[in-house]
């Protein structure tokens, strides 16, 4: 009789298919938990959770986004030279003019209507810039039909000139949703087997939003009797939509914002680490070597590493600023953050 000591039991290893299924389950559970948690916290204590969320995640999510854009940046622009030149010029000009708007408002004597036209003008430049980028992208992707886009650009322009402040508010609410689009395109490229599950999850989101709005529609407006709370309700459009409870507005915006942070900080790095465990690449997000611009023979390793370190320092500075004077830092952050909102446009277009 063979003794138990002689038995050689091979170490149990999960098959790749089993591993993939467990990772898909984990991915779905993470998405569901993130969405449900965001909805509950955003509905329960919108102002307090908004303060904590922005404090903790605003800076890190920008760092992750910056790193992601670096990863998508080609070593040489090649045929995309005009596209990237237009993109970076637009980001620079629009960001600087956006930052100058409050200065112009403070030092100029503007009538309400004149100021509305200034805002509509800035929005028009933004729409024109996006239209130009789509045109350049369409030239690169001859097989895709983009002929419908001029109609959409012109319709957006019309809406902007009818109601410039509402157009700006739409951008505030749409920007978080763009992150979900990024994740969709990223999964299409890297984990196509997850796309179906992810899109099923996306279908649930409008239902969750509708439930939130229904539950909160009868709630009284939030008490925004201090400067910080007032800023948060204004950011969500409380002044523009006085007939809607500010509780609904802040909760919905915070919910979308939390999803946005979740995508950049959790979902996209998770997808990267899942690929790494499958042996395709070493994708630890903190390593500059994961950025093609760093490891390519004709790349810029020092510049990339320096930029990532500098961005990390900015995150720490932002946390420090929030600790010292939350309200002022929040104002400055949301003004400067327009740059990352703009940067999402060309990089998303490159993924379409």
């Amino acid at each position: 009789m063979q003794s138990t000591a002689d038995l050689k039991i091979p170490a149990w290893t999960a098959s790749p298919a089993r591993l993939d299924r467990s990772r898909t389950t984990l991915f779905v559970l993470a998405l569901g938990a993130c969405a449900l948690g965001s909805a509950v916290f955003a509905s329960w204590l919108p102002l307090q959770v908004s303060i904590v969320t922005v404090f903790l995640f605003a800076g890190p999510h920008n760092w992750f986004e910056f790193r992601y854009f670096l990863m998508r940046l080609p070593v040489r622009f090649g045929n995309s030279r005009n596209f990237f030149l237009t993109a970076f010029t637009g980001i620079g000009v629009l960001t600087v003019t956006y930052l100058l708007l409050p200065v112009a408002f403070r030092f100029g004597s503007w009538s309400e209507e004149a100021w509305t036209i200034v805002i509509a003008g800035w929005n028009s430049v933004l729409i024109g810039w996006i239209g130009m980028l789509v045109l350049l992208r369409a030239r690169q992707k001859r097989k895709s039909d983009w002929s419908w886009f001029p109609a959409v650009v012109l319709a957006a322009g019309a809406f902007n000139w009818f109601a410039p402040f509402f157009f700006s508010l739409v951008i505030v609410y749409l920007h978080p949703v763009v992150a979900l689009w990024f994740l969709d395109r990223h999964l299409m490229r890297t984990r196509p087997q997850w796309v179906r599950t992810y899109r099923k999850f996306l279908v649930i989101l409008p239902g969750l939003l509708a439930l939130m709005i229904w539950r909160l529609s009868q709630t009284p407006p939030l008490v925004d009797d201090n400067g910080l709370f007032w800023r948060i309700t204004q950011h969500s459009g409380a002044e523009l939509l006085p007939s809607v409870s500010s509780h609904v507005l802040v909760s919905v915006h915070l919910f979308l914002e939390m999803l946005h942070y979740g995508v950049w900080i959790i979902a996209l790095p998770f997808v990267g680490s899942a690929i790494a465990r499958h042996g395709k690449a070493n994708q630890q997000f903190w390593r500059p070597a994961t950025v093609p611009l760093f490891r390519h023979p004709r790349g810029f390793p020092r510049l990339v590493a320096a930029m990532l370190v500098f961005a990390a320092i900015l995150v720490v500075v932002l946390w420090f600023g929030f600790s010292v004077d939350y309200a002022t830092t929040r104002d400055i952050y949301f003004s400067v953050a327009i740059a990352h909102v703009l940067a999402e446009v060309p990089f998303l277009l490159k993924m379409l």
């Binding site: 109609a151 019309a158 002044e239």
Partner: protein
């Protein structure tokens, strides 16, 4: 390309005529007169019995009072929205021109895509997106119209709750009505109660 040029030329021509036709536009609507009643704020109300009180008491939270004051300041209701949308003829002209061009381009695109078999799927997608947008819009309008459980549903058990000593919470519209020298001029609270056999009206 020729079609686009033709549309641009036609739109310019139309704009020229618009300037002439503009003189026939009706006068803008006047803001509501002071004598007309109007709902200025929607909020919630709790009616609770209190055995210790000798006089009925209306308690208004500070924040609600501020909201009411703000709503009253914007006479005519929702003046911010109205002003920001229809404030200026220059903006209206630019917006109208862009909308006209947008519809023209959409028309050209639809006409061209009919001849292009490959674009069928895209057209279906856009059509689906338009239907979804219209549905969401309609849903939003219905929601804003207080669809779903009607407002009076929350007040249905008020008499029973009052006799049992419980409170009841429901929606409340604050309405400013004109003074009438021939009738009672105090505050009036109207509760939307339905008889049991009255059902949905």
């Amino acid at each position: 390309m020729k079609a686009i040029l033709l549309i641009c030329s036609l739109s310019l021509l139309l704009l020229t005529f618009t300037a002439v036709a503009d003189a026939d536009l009706p006068k803008p609507k006047q803001s509501p007169k002071a004598s007309e009643s109007r709902v200025v704020l929607h909020t919630s109300l709790e009616i609770a019995p209190d055995t210790k009180l000798y006089e009925a008491r209306l308690q208004i939270p500070q924040s609600q009072l501020q909201n009411l004051r703000a709503a009253l300041d914007g006479a005519g209701g929702n003046s911010t929205v109205a002003a920001s949308v229809t404030g200026n003829p220059t903006r209206t002209i630019i917006a109208g021109s862009l909308l006209f061009l947008s519809l023209s381009f959409a028309g050209v695109w639809l006409a061209r895509s009919r001849t292009n078999l490959g674009a069928g799927r895209t057209r279906k997608t856009i059509a689906a997106a338009l239907i979804v947008t219209a549905t969401i819009g309609a849903a939003a309008i219905i929601t804003r119209g207080n669809a779903g459980p009607p407002g009076y549903y929350r007040w249905r058990n008020l008499p029973q709750s009052l006799s049992d000593g419980h409170s009841t919470v429901g929606g409340l519209d604050i309405e400013i009505v004109a003074d009438n020298p021939n009738s009672y001029n105090g505050m009036k609270l109207l509760i939307p109660l339905r008889k049991a056999n009255q059902g949905e009206e």
